[in-house]
Amino acid sequence: MDEATISKDAEDMARDFDERQKRIDDAIALRRPDRVPIIYYTMFWHASYAGITFKEAMYNYAKVSEVTKKIVLELKPDAVAAPHRATLLGPTMELMGYQQLRWPGHGVGENYSYQYIDREYMKPEEYDDYIEDPGWFYLTRYLPRVAEAFAPMAGLPQPASMQHTRLVYLTRFFTDEVAAGFAQLAKAGREAQVAFDSASEFQVEMAGLGFPMGQMATGPAPYDYFADNMRGSKGIMLDLFRRKDKLLAAMDRATPIILKGLLEMAGQNPCKIVFLPMHWGLDGFMSPDQFKTFFWPHLRKVIVGLIEAGLVPLVLWEGDCTSRLETIADIPAGKAIYWFERTDLFRAKAVLGDVVCLRGNVPASMLNTGTPQDVREYCKKLIEGVGRDGGFILDGGIGIPDEARLENVRAMFQSVRDFSA
């Protein structure tokens, strides 16, 4: 290839990138794009696609980049949610002795997705400690329980109580065990940096090929922050009755911390989409009143805070959230994406069509067990019914399921070209 061809290719790629980005931006802004956009998102489907084990997909950085690139060049999505940061965790988790997940080779088989262990990592009587000083609580209570390398930190005193001569004696708490913990964390940190860099390099490579990222930073709803990772699902449901004021105060404390963390993570990254997957606020998991008291107000602060910082919240509403639609309509219009797993998108469009771009929701069951014809028909209905006037991104209920049939995934990606171009 001569230089002129290479620069022509680069120009084409840059034009493709801008076209795809505009398509996504138009959908978010509730304008009508040239066609319905589609974003590539999966946890482990790339492993099934390439015939590698899920274990390899959690350990082999170069392989995940190579395989995902191949998929992207075949499917040509309008944006790519790189699987790196959510899945290339194996080496670092081993080094830090991470306890909150079971993963291939560590509690589940080589071809299974990693799974979260739902248990109590923060005791009910510890809300006050969190509220008083979340950073100290994290370092000396929470982190030692969820990763072995942090275990020695459990003996550290509250440093903010130390000054003058007592500050001198503070040093005696930094024992050889603590030093060993930090040394182990430094090892884990070096590995995590390699994983992190592989994601960044992939982002640059994708941009060069004309594909924007579909999301970068990820964070929780304040309720899920306590439910998923600290109190456990049973603990937090009991807290709704036994410690409602503490829970609300702790969420008040956590909300600006979560937001600040997301703003730092999103930083200067060209991708402005911030992923917020919801777990414990869906229909059935709490009453509409509980949702309006314990879930939505704090989540809304995160959403609005992101929007005010020029970012685009991508909220994944798992399960069925039909009874929440009117409540969650209360955000600035044309600035976010609501991704629904099982909620009827036609109903969501009727309630939220003027407020937020919708995304979804070809069922996992159809992608895994149905035929390409089933998928085409389903997508056609969504594209023509929900996507007609913009404000819609096609995707699976939760992206592409790990076991999806290739021909069904192809049919989903082809459908935006066939039915909305």
Partner: protein, 211 residues
């Protein structure tokens, strides 16, 4: 006093309910009557869940409260609690292999027990052979397979296929549920029915086990 117990449990007034129980037994009240009142209260909780007035948090609290009350009164029972009144039929349940999730399954167990079913829970990540062995041994009329992850679709299918191969399928009604399970998964796995929530499981059992 026991009417007060039924009301406080059903209304989620935990402290009051425990206070009533303590006063009742310290005054020499029959601990078996406390357990009977609990059962009555759980019927109400189940009904309110069915009516969409209560949600998972209420079931969690009711379950936890029941455990606390049992811990108080069971040591006082002469000769142990009377034979369980769970005579509506036996349901074998478990989360299929590869899947470690149990919250949904536990809620189904709770609701089935509240509704009088004798539930045998095999736990999570249950190998196909364990389901087959238990069905052969216990001959339950109903098997309930739970799974949250999409990998469970295949695990459910393998389990049901193995039951067919072992000649155990015909006399067995099988329901599946959890996560993204729907009619397409039911058809794929060859289950008899799927459920979207714990009440669906109860309705299916009522339908299948009606005398």
């Amino acid at each position: 006093m026991l009417e007060e117990l039924v009301r406080t449990i059903a209304d989620m007034e935990e402290e009051l309910a425990l206070q009533v129980v303590r006063e009742f037994v310290s005054g020499g009240g029959d601990p078996q009557q406390v357990l009977d009142a609990c059962r009555e209260a759980m019927d109400l909780v189940g009904k309110r869940f069915e009516d969409g007035e209560y949600f998972l948090p209420e079931l969690m609290l009711a379950g936890d409260l029941l455990e606390q009350i049992s811990a108080i009164v069971k040591p006082l029972l002469v000769g142990g609690p009377q034979a369980s009144a769970n005579t509506a039929g036996t349901v074998l349940i478990g989360t299929v292999h590869g899947d470690l999730h149990d919250i949904g399954k536990n809620i189904v167990v709770f609701m089935l027990e509240v509704n009088g079913y004798n539930v045998i829970d095999l736990g999570i990540d249950v190998p196909v052979e364990d389901f087959v062995d238990k069905v052969r041994e216990l001959k339950p009329p109903v098997l309930a397979l739970s799974g949250f992850l999409t990998l469970a679709f295949d695990s459910m299918k393998e389990t049901i296929d193995a039951l067919s191969d072992a000649g155990l399928r015909d006399s067995l009604k099988i329901m599946i549920g959890g996560g993204q399970v729907d009619e397409a998964v039911r058809s794929y796995t060859n289950a008899d029915a799927f459920g979207l929530n714990a009440m669906d499981a109860v309705s299916l059992c009522r339908q299948w086990l009606a005398a």
